[in-house]
């Protein structure tokens, strides 16, 4: 049985920064149904590490749901939160937060509730600035990708009592807000309250989280060549800077491959026409495409997170 630590109601137009410690669960719940919630998350002890929608969508796709993680940005690249439960199952990491610019440019508002400004106002309680608001994990948001490659928002059907449970894997500043879009389909043209509950996770909850790799490439400020957070706004060149890019210089080495008549015929049958007469590029493509198909466990370009 979970212990309830706190409960609160998020009223329309508002958000709240919440200290969510590792092992605690944030439940975000529909009160009336049909309400989108935008969500930001920061490492509570180092705000420069935050939830990264780009990394999350390469691992889990455009609509993360139950059984998936919310990842922080490279080079931290840790699982920050785990989606323990999701009764509605439609969330989005394609769309950015709505903003004042959106409502002014498209609708003519001088002022309108919008997720960027709501997030900024909630984050201000912890000393963050409007520039610190990051791409949001959009809960209870139905989105689609059209054939021409554009993302679109559709109406949603979440009901009163639908909820998503986010289990913190690290100490987090979690910031949900009631999406400010009342003149779009996002929340079916309305603004409704949202119920927030913090639970202490049970041993069973914690046991439900799959293990993720701990790798050398997951770096922290202790590993950075520049570990100090820049505290002024002007950008100035460091005259002592000497580049130290990884594995540079890139040096190519020739490898001669003698093809038999049979191998040459195979090669000619499958090489990609885009390389024309450049057999070296065509064979290189075949070799690394073969490698991807044989050895990659995730999608191309996505980190592997299994054991």
């Amino acid at each position: 049985m979970r212990t309830v630590l706190t409960e609160r109601r998020l009223e329309p137009g508002t958000g709240k920064a919440i200290e969510l410690l590792a092992g605690q669960i944030l439940r975000i719940e529909q009160v009336e149904g049909g309400q989108c919630v935008d969500f930001n998350a920061f490492n509570l002890h180092d705000y420069k590490e935050f939830m990264h929608c780009g990394r999350t969508r390469t691992v889990h796709g455009f609509n993360p749901s139950q059984g998936m993680f919310l990842w922080s940005q490279p080079p931290r690249e840790r699982a920050m939160l785990y989606i323990l439960a999701d009764t509605y199952g439609r969330n989005d990491v394609l769309f950015p937060r709505c903003s004042g610019y959106l409502y002014e440019s498209a609708y003519g508002f001088d002022a309108h509730t919008n997720c960027h400004d709501i997030q900024a106002e909630a984050q201000r309680e912890y000393g963050l600035t409007p520039d610190d608001v990051h791409d949001s994990f959009n809960l209870f948001m139905n989105t689609e990708v059209s054939m021409d490659g554009r993302a679109t928002i559709t109406r949603q059907t979440s009901q009163a009592g639908d909820y998503i449970d986010l289990l913190a894997l690290v100490d987090t500043l979690a910031v949900p807000n009631v999406c400010g879009a009342d003149i779009m389909r996002t929340s079916n043209f309305g603004l409704k309250p949202i119920q927030i509950t913090i639970f202490e996770a049970t041993a069973e909850d914690l046991d439900a989280v799959p293990k993720t790799p701990i790798l050398r490439s997951q770096r922290t400020p202790a590993d950075f060549r520049q570990p100090t957070i820049k505290a002024d706004r002007e950008l100035r060149r460091d005259t002592a800077y000497r580049p130290q890019f990884t594995n540079v210089p890139i040096i190519h080495q020739p490898i001669a491959i003698d093809l038999s008549a049979e191998e040459a015929a195979l090669f000619d049958a499958v090489k990609l026409p885009q390389y024309g007469d450049d057999d070296a590029q065509a064979l290189r493509d075949i070799v690394f495409t073969w490698w991807e198909e044989r050895y990659l466990t995730g999608a191309s370009g996505a980190p592997a997170i299994g054991d």
């Binding site: 594995n247 490898i255 001669a256 290189r284």
Partner: protein, 47 residues
């Protein structure tokens, strides 16, 4: 008898991946691995 020679140009990172794959037992050397890749790729993608 070779009928055609293709000269691949691979950088140190690409070679590292191939060498680790060889270390895993996929093939005895780079040339063999590349020929294995060609055969298996052709089986999968050949018309």
């Amino acid at each position: 008898m070779p009928t055609r020679t293709v000269v691949l140009k691979l950088n140190q990172q690409q070679l590292e991946l191939l060498d680790r794959t060889i270390g895993g037992g996929a093939a005895p050397d780079r040339v063999s691995l590349i020929k294995l890749a060609l055969r298996e790729y052709a089986e999968r993608h050949g018309k």
